[in-house]
């Protein structure tokens, strides 16, 4: 893989791309092969992700062809994807505790 690119989609199944340089809002993103055509809705910092398609709230999000978490709100194509709209499904002791409290009638 010789990228020579401003961004990368690591697997065809992925919902997100990674910026390999700082990218400005409004930049036009086209990849005919992947069927991607969009404009960035926000500045994307180096190494951060943007969505390459519409993602519904609650939908699983893929990178490396694998699940990396779940959308916490609707995400538009070209939007910055990070901690504000994507959450982990693993190691969630907070959710476990909430479930335990509900079961024990505390919450």
């Amino acid at each position: 893989m010789r990228t020579g690119k401003r961004w990368i989609v690591q697997n065809r199944l992925d919902d997100v791309a990674t910026a390999l340089v700082p990218m400005p809002a409004g930049e036009h993103i086209v990849d005919v092969d992947l069927g991607v055509q969009l404009r960035l809705l926000q500045d994307i910092p180096f190494g951060h992700k943007f969505s390459v398609r519409e993602i519904a709230a609650g939908e699983k999000v893929h990178k490396y062809g694998q699940v990396i978490g779940r959308a916490t709100k609707p995400i538009r194509a070209g939007e910055h994807v990070h901690v504000h709209n994507l959450e982990s499904l693993r190691g969630r002791g907070d959710l476990q505790r909430l479930a335990d409290e509900v079961r024990e009638g505390k919450a």
Binding site: M1, R2, T3, G4, K5, I8, Q10, T18, A19, L20, P45, F46, G47, H48, K49, K63, Y64, Q66, V67, I68, G69, V81, H82, V83, L86, E87, S88, L89, R90, G91, R92, G93, D94, L95, Q96, R97
Partner: protein, 385 residues
């Protein structure tokens, strides 16, 4: 393929010839520092542990001491003790001697306290630093090398450049009959199914799933989202959002070969090839575990530029992006950011990193070695008592 190393009496192969001052508890850290200040050719570290431990922690701490005292990168070891540590220290000296090392024990209470210990320690250590020159490097096969792989201060580039390049090194070493350790169990969460599919036997696959389940359940007992610790704030600044994403980038370090074995923290692999060690993601505890388990060299990829090393094993620092390579040029040995910049492929950069590893095995000093980065930390199972 051959490199030049030190063949020890127990048959193991070292790539450094260290005189190690090993403080077996925190009581004697200051003495170890006094001695190595007087004899700067020797190495030591600060120990936070050694007392008030029981059960699995006591066993694990002992395993780390044995791993360091008998390590093939060590020519001679001075065990420094207060004298009341819960360990058979004479037994540890015997183990080191059986491994072919010069080894002595100084217990504080037998030499009249601090000044006596420093005087005696300096005398012994100075002699060893002169005598060790008599041991020469000889040709040894690459199959005798155990590489510890690590990523710390990861960013989104870690899974695109640094870790895949390190994966190429792992594959090349395994092809030569050597061993590569993939660790950081916390950073396998979300990627364990891919590793279990690559296990050499169904039992190894089950072990992989077991250690990941164990670390995840333990983390969840705290009742919080592990985000903040995993991924860390630095990881998040670098673009990593979730532990699954971090893990999927992490596992590239191990390359593509089957996983032969899963070993406990600081345990020596019995198989060659790719093995997994159950360690935390905590960088220092991880390096300490891999080195105690016999790794003679560590390759450490970093997106954010962490400076750490090991007292007895060379640690090659690899930047995952060119910004960090430039911003941390005092500390970083190698830039894998050329992959991000589109100037090289993963394969090309991986082969270049493999060539650097051979140089370092042959004696080239890493920046962490030259700068005196000698961090040490033992992973804890339970609490201090």
């Amino acid at each position: 393929m051959q490199v030049l190393g030190y063949r020890r009496r127990d048959g193991r192969v070292g790539v450094r010839n260290h005189v190690l001052v090993l403080p077996v508890s925190y009581e004697v850290n200051a003495i170890a520092e006094h001695i190595t200040r007087a004899v700067p050719e020797a190495v030591t570290f600060r120990n936070q542990h050694g007392l008030n431990q029981s059960g699995a922690d006591l066993v694990q701490t002992r395993r780390v001491y044995e791993g360091f005292a008998t390590h093939p990168n060590v020519y001679a070891v001075l065990l420094l003790a207060w004298g009341n540590e819960p360990h058979d220290l004479k037994g540890l000296v015997e183990q080191a001697r059986r491994a072919g090392k010069q080894a002595e024990l100084i217990a504080l209470e037998t030499v009249g306290g601090v000044r006596g210990a420093v005087r005696e320690g300096v005398r012994i250590v100075r002699r060893w630093t002169e005598e060790r020159a008599a041991v020469e490097r000889v040709e040894v096969p690459l199959s005798s090398i155990i590489l510890g792989t690590e990523c710390g201060g990861s960013d989104a580039c870690s899974g695109i450049s640094g870790n895949p390049a390190l994966g190429v090194v792992s594959d090349l070493l395994v092809e030569q009959g050597g061993t590569s350790i993939l660790a950081e169990t916390t950073e396998l969460i979300g990627a364990e199914h891919l590793l279990a599919d690559r296990a050499a036997t169904p039992e190894v696959g089950q072990r992989i799933l077991h250690i990941v389940r164990r670390v995840e359940e333990n983390a969840m007992k705290m009742g919080v989202d592990i985000r903040g610790a995993q991924p860390s704030p630095g990881n998040m600044d670098g673009g990593i959002t979730t532990i699954e994403e971090k893990s999927l980038g992490c596992i590239y370090k191990g390359g593509t070969t089957p996983i032969r074995e899963v070993v406990e923290y600081a345990e020596r692999p019995t198989e060659k090839g790719l093995v997994i060690m159950d360690t935390p993601g905590h960088d220092i505890e991880q390096i300490t575990g891999m080195v105690a388990g016999g790794a003679q060299i560590v390759i450490f990829t970093t997106g954010r530029g962490t400076p750490t090393g090991s007292p007895i094993a060379p640690c090659i620092k690899v930047a995952t992006n060119s910004f960090t390579f430039r911003n941390m040029r005092d500390n970083i040995d190698f830039n894998a950011g050329d992959i991000i910049d589109g100037e090289a492929t993963v394969e090309e950069t991986g082969r270049r990193l493999f060539a650097l590893m051979l140089d370092v095995l042959n004696g080239k000093q890493t920046k962490a070695e030259r700068l005196g980065h000698r961090e040490f930390g033992i992973y804890r199972v339970g609490q201090s008592l």
